[in-house]
Symmetry: C2
Subunit: 140 residues, 2 copies
């Protein structure tokens, strides 16, 4: 299960994807629309900015916006920034690899299975982008 931090981050990015091209969006607006605690969201967006996913503008008329077109940023890259490894164990992670001590990976049954699940998840998250996070317009 992902943390609320990651969930909030993805929700916010979905909102920014919907608003793409319309200029900066206020943190407060995102927080209100997506029901995310304001100060918590501030922190998450800052992290995304520091990782070049978002751009910001201070002062009146300021806010946050996507650094790239929503189709250009994969969900995998966001996941890795906020949540960390996509793989279920460090010894099968591509971006956060750590050798499994007390275990020879070449013969490890668990290792093989975990690589399969990693690849299955990755196939989805590498293909899908911020564009896919945009909510469908709701008729009221």
């Amino acid at each position: 299960m992902i943390s609320k931090r990651t969930k909030y981050g993805l929700k916010a990015l979905g909102y920014l994807a919907e608003q793409y091209g319309k200029g900066p969006v206020l943190i407060a607006e995102i927080a209100e629309q997506k029901k995310i605690p304001l100060k918590f969201l501030e922190n998450i967006l800052l992290q995304l900015k520091q990782n070049n996913i978002l751009e910001s503008k201070k002062g009146k008329g300021g806010g946050y916006m996507l650094a790239l077109h929503p189709k250009k940023t994969s969900l995998a890259s966001i996941y890795r920034i906020i949540e960390g490894p996509i793989a279920m164990m460090p010894c099968v992670s591509l971006n956060f690899y750590e050798k499994c001590k007390d275990c020879n990976e070449a013969y490890c049954g668990l290792n093989r299975v975990m690589i399969m699940t990693r690849d299955a998840t990755l196939k989805v998250l590498e293909k899908r982008t911020l564009m896919d996070l945009a909510d469908e317009p709701q008729m009221i």
Copy 2:
């Protein structure tokens, strides 16, 4: 990322799959072979027994053994017992579903994507069994 508890549990089950049909195996033997802290492992195996994955026998000649043939138990069922939901969010979980408040699932972009990753992971974990956890014999 899965917890060490889940990792240890899977490792132990892999060992019991290797030893299937040979009678009860001591906790101490599993702990030593798989480098798992003994008392921690005791606790994990007990949980697996209480969920009918394992059978046990006390006293001399006792130990733990698989309740079923290793091919009969999916990794998904083990994962759900030890780690919990396979899905990344409660609102897309099949076995641990919780409605997402402040969000209409029918229109939620994140929901759709999370269902895709859930299904991708599930396809692997439902198909693979304890049999797949058995390590390959190592030539020494």
